[in-house]
């Protein structure tokens, strides 16, 4: 079931992180950009859990605690971010971040 090497987990995490990054860079919809950010946070969580599993001590659970905090913060971020997206849509009638240049000089 479990791999005896850390490398595959780290590679999966790096791949997901870069996919999320690409999503943030490429897409032109705030909601999908937010989804990319969520994906990046999740990729980091894989690392935390993998490091916890490969730590020799059985009492050490900082990795898991970090993931609990990360999940909670990501949920709060998603709630506020999506509320902002809806609010912005009401104002500009668009979810394309390029249309939000009112403060551009």
């Amino acid at each position: 079931m479990i791999m005896d090497s850390l490398t595959p987990y780290l590679l999966l995490s790096a791949g997901l992180f870069c996919t999320g990054l690409m999503g943030v860079l490429l897409r032109r919809n705030i909601i999908i950009m937010l989804a990319g950010v969520e994906l990046m946070l999740n990729a980091a969580n894989i690392n935390f859990v993998a490091f916890w599993r490969f730590h020799p001590s059985s009492e050490e659970v900082s990795g898991l605690a970090m993931v609990v905090f990360a999940i909670a913060i990501a949920a709060a971020e998603a709630a506020v971010g999506l509320a902002l997206a809806i609010s912005i849509y009401r104002h500009y009638r668009s979810t394309n971040p390029e249309n939000m240049g009112d403060l551009k000089g």
Binding site: I86, Y89, R90, R93
Partner: protein, 392 residues
């Protein structure tokens, strides 16, 4: 005890007859087969029971033509559903439309796997059983969205969005009221929760101040979570045809119907496990009757209660439903959590009884008085993401 041991022995005997590589799969299969068959049969009986009871409540006979006293009505319904044409709308998102009923039924069935049906009689005895149960409940929300969105029908979409909004709102009091039990038991595993109530009827959690209020809150949230009357606005026939099931016919519709039934049984079984002593007998003398019999008895009485409520209560309005969830259920479940905390801190006893009971009573009467003075059936108000008439 003997019945559970007998079942477990039979299972191990059968598993040992298999070739070595097949044993894990065979063990999982043998654990899930009784659950799936018994709940499938129970579902068939419950549909008949529901129609019969609703008929009696409404002063008519209910189905009585097929078989003796209408007993074979579920078989006739099943044959009718199977032979009906399966219609998929032309513009529907075919894959999503196809996956939705399957996802709903699978997530409902998976929830049953962590319910202890007897001593050691549990398909998946994991440390975090109740979390698994709620995670599966959360996955069913997504299936409902897929059904509503994949159908390309505005009634289906509206019904799905109503269902999801309602399920998310009522999930919070649901989990918070279950949390009070977990706090007192000190474990997330449902077999531990059932074991904590093994000493007879006085150890059941419903007979404590926090357990009583928790059980009522849990049952109300359960009604909303499984979209049953009086919280059945997602599939309100008079407004939305059949909600997210509008564009489904034939066997897929039957799958939806079955998923709802199984979800109802799963929630009732969880209620019985959390508050009503699970598979334990009310008196230690009666414990020669096998555990599954007790659990199914409790489960069936809760289902009868739900049918009774369905026959009695009028349907709520969408805004009343949300107001009830956020302004009443949520504060009450938080207060109940504090009451359970008082109970844990004082370690049971008379003082804990009085204190946590007083806390619940004061909060209940005080808050309902404030709420009833604040709102006297306000007229319905509408709010949109965008103002009407601007975008068109």
């Amino acid at each position: 005890m003997w019945f559970e041991e007998l079942l477990i022995t039979i299972k191990y005997y059968l598993v040992l007859q298999m070739p070595g590589s097949l044993q894990p799969v065979g063990s999982a299969f043998l654990s899930s087969l009784p659950i799936m068959t018994s709940f499938g049969g129970l579902f068939a009986l419950a549909t008949l029971l529901e129609r019969k009871m609703l008929g009696r409540i409404q002063n008519r006979y209910g189905p009585n033509r097929v078989g003796p006293g209408g007993l074979l009505q579920p078989v006739a319904d099943g044959i009718k559903m199977l032979t009906k044409e399966d219609i998929v709308p032309k513009n529907a998102d075919h894959l999503i439309h196809f996956l939705a009923p399957l996802g709903l039924l699978v997530s409902a069935m998976l929830g049953l796997s962590v319910i202890p049906f007897g001593h050691r009689l549990i398909a998946l005895d994991i440390e975090t059983g109740i979390l698994f149960f709620f995670a599966m409940g959360a996955a069913s929300e997504l299936a409902i969205f897929m059904a509503g969105w994949g159908s390309r029908n505005k009634y289906a979409l509206l019904g799905a969005l109503r269902a999801i909004a309602q399920m998310i709102s009522y999930e919070i009091p649901l989990i918070l009221s279950a949390l009070s039990v977990l706090m007192v038991v000190g474990s997330l595993s449902l077999s531990d929760v059932a074991q904590a109530q093994s000493g007879g009827i006085h150890t059941w959690h419903i007979f404590t101040p926090w357990g009583f209020l928790g059980c009522i809150l849990f049952l109300i949230s359960t009604l909303a979570e499984i979209n049953r009357s009086p919280f059945d606005i997602p599939e309100a026939e008079s407004e939305l045809i059949a909600g997210h099931m509008t564009e489904y016919s034939g066997f897929k519709y039957a799958l939806f119907f079955m998923a709802e039934g199984v979800a109802m049984f799963a929630m009732c079984a969880l209620t019985a496990t959390l508050f009503l002593g699970g598979y334990h007998a009310p008196l230690p003398i009666l414990s020669f009757i096998p555990g599954p019999v007790w659990l199914f008895g409790k489960l069936t009485s809760l289902v009868l209660l739900f049918i009774w409520i369905r026959g009695t209560m009028p349907r709520l309005r969408a805004d009343q439903l949300m107001e009830f969830a956020w302004k009443f259920m949520l504060p009450m479940s938080v207060v109940n959590l504090i009451a359970a905390g008082v109970w844990v801190a004082l370690d049971g006893g008379v003082a804990a009884w009085i204190l946590s009971g007083l806390l619940n009573c004061v909060a209940y009467f005080g808050w309902s008085r404030i709420l009833s003075q604040a709102s006297r059936f306000n007229p319905r108000t509408y709010r949109y993401a965008e103002e009407a008439g601007v975008s068109k």
